[in-house]
Symmetry: C2
Subunit: 375 residues, 2 copies
């Protein structure tokens, strides 16, 4: 269960200045919800920014206030852990566009009503602009490192490329420098599932929900189910579920969840709708699809890192088919071309893309080793 202490760990920064966006607009009254752990040293040079994934949040270490579950990276972050809070000052901020306290489509627009689809389409770099504003407010000129998996890795790359003076190291796990056609396709299925739900109401469902009505939970649930398949490996699904039946010895010759994998997916879909806003899902997937770091820098990925002096570490997983090793290798080649120090490892793990969140001891060692090198 969430406790008072847990919610207290999440702070909110209100930006005094409008946040400029890649789309040409700017966003006023931006709030950024974040957590910090550990202590910023006197030199203010021991800060690590952890960037979260699509449906992640700032609760990297402390219990999630809605689900009561432990923070999403407690296995990696904490006293004596690979990202050691005894040594580093850890910052994790909810990205703009999300729904855990930072400004997003569910937030109130200047007219006092929720933005809904009036929220501007944002990019990964816009999320990073929010992070930079937070670093400014915290008085941190240069991060010891920026770290992230999946969409978090995109933010880490974007920060290292576009705000190169703000980070001395970047650790990019199970990520990519651009969304592939297949990545876009899966996201588009999810968006269409949400937008096909009549309770989506062109994004203006917040009032209906407040009055006891429904939002597009069914559509959001289907979107989550489709995405969830891409987070796991085929072999992992086979090992975890195979064709095993759920609480029954025979097929029912009906449309109940006969198979464990069906039951699991339905649960993943339904439980997601309790903690996530459907419009945020639309906006964040759009930001990911728009992400193409080379395109932002004249079409050459190496150019993106031309002004960087950071050292990099790229990690991929052999069973990750969402952002396969070739995507990480693509980044490594660009960093090599830019003459930057980079280490790269493909780890073997059975969990597919989700490996970056799960029990992969080899990842712990890579993270600890890379962060240790900067001593």
């Amino acid at each position: 269960m969430a406790t008072a202490r847990d919610t207290e760990t999440s702070k909110v920064l209100e930006l005094a200045q409008p946040l400029p966006l890649d789309g040409g607009q700017s966003l006023e009254g931006v709030r950024i919800a974040y957590e910090t752990h550990g202590t910023l040293n006197e030199a203010r040079d021991n800060a690590i920014l952890i960037c979260h994934a699509l449906t992640g949040d700032q609760y990297v270490m402390s219990d999630h206030p809605k689900t009561g579950k432990p923070g999403w990276w407690v296995r990696m972050v904490g006293p004596g852990k690979p990202i050691d809070t005894d040594r580093f000052f850890i910052i994790c901020a909810n990205v703009i566009g999300s729904c855990m306290g930072s400004t997003g489509p569910a937030s109130l627009a200047p007219d006092g009503k929720p933005y809904g689809m009036r929220f501007p389409v944002i990019t990964i770099r816009d999320m990073v602009r929010g992070h930079i504003a937070l670093l400014d407010a915290l008085g941190i000129d240069s991060l010891y490192a920026v770290v992230g998996g999946s969409m978090g890795g995109m933010q880490a790359l974007s920060l290292a490329a576009s705000f190169s003076e703000r980070a001395r190291a970047a650790l990019v796990i199970a990520s990519t420098a651009r969304h592939s056609a297949q990545n876009i396709a899966f996201h588009e299925v999810g968006r269409q599932a949400i937008m096909a739900d009549p309770d989506w109401r062109e994004g203006a469902y917040y009032e209906a929900k407040e009055n006891g009505g429904k939002g597009p939970e069914k559509g959001l649930s289907v979107a989550r189910m489709a995405a969830h398949i891409t987070y796991l490996s085929e072999a992992g699904l086979t090992e975890k579920f195979g064709r095993r039946l759920q609480d029954r010895s025979e097929k029912t010759f009906g449309f109940d969840a006969d198979f464990q994998v069906e039951s699991y997916l339905r649960y993943q879909g339904l439980s997601f709708t309790d903690r996530f806003d459907a419009n945020s899902y639309l906006y964040i997937t759009r930001a990911m699809d728009y992400f193409d770091l080379a395109e932002e820098h004249g079409g050459m990925l190496a150019k993106a890192f031309a002004r960087s002096k950071a050292r990099f570490c790229l990690v991929s997983f052999d069973t990750d088919w969402l952002y396969p090793t070739s995507e990480s290798r693509n980044v490594v080649h660009a960093l090599n071309a830019a003459g930057l120090p980079v280490s790269f490892v493909e780890l073997s793990a059975p969990f597919g893309h989700d490996s970056f969140l799960l029990d992969v001891p080899a990842l712990d060692r890579v993270v600890e080793g890379f962060l240790g090198e900067g001593r």
Copy 2:
């Protein structure tokens, strides 16, 4: 455009006897819509049954009456083609559960109203029982060959296993002897998308549609989009679409189909709803998920073929991640164990699972060669 001649090619068999089903029920008044091409010889031993895939139909050679498009396998079937109508008598029947003339959930039940979800859950073997009834009616004791790709391959395997005296050869392309957890998962997403659509009305949408209302077209469209991704390879999607924009030079920073792959998927989804019944999609995907040929035969796949005397040919494609080569190899090992003659080839083709329908000249040669061996 469909012509009178085209529609004339589709015939309908009405079964006098109820069709027994794996679920324990039996289905009365079954109609089986089918096409034939070529001439049955005097010995009645030159018939080839072609089995269609999930959303396929009997229009293997002639124009589709709804879309006006050429038959789905014109490149393979016809005079002088690998499946040569100058030599063979070709039969292709719409599977039961489908919606192109054979009995399915949109058909009228004995009470004069559409079955909807009162239609019994069927299996791949039940579809094959329909085919066998058709062979009986046509006076064909033994097929020269049964041929199919994807779900058509499942039917070919099922026929060879459960009605072993009825086919002297089986050609199984891009298929599997059982649905994997990942296969089931993708189908479940599609079913949930349909069932989440309020216009699905628990399957009883036919009356609403007849009265000018809607069926679950939005849900069906999302289901088709999700499935379509699995039919293509990641590399194929990248080559075909990459991150290219659709009829625009800049991203719109909105939720239109900016990317070609989005536009393509939306079109695939929408156009599908014009030709396919949502309940049929539920029932046929369920039949595929239930398919496990080993399970039907005591858990040992080799046992499924214990009574067979047929020769087999298995074909897989290197970019097919829906039914990868390992699935075909699994069948080959079982056929080896059963002591049956089997040839097996993995073809290289860029189109993913859809390769069996597309321009892969090597497949033509394999099909022609395998069918030629039986002379």
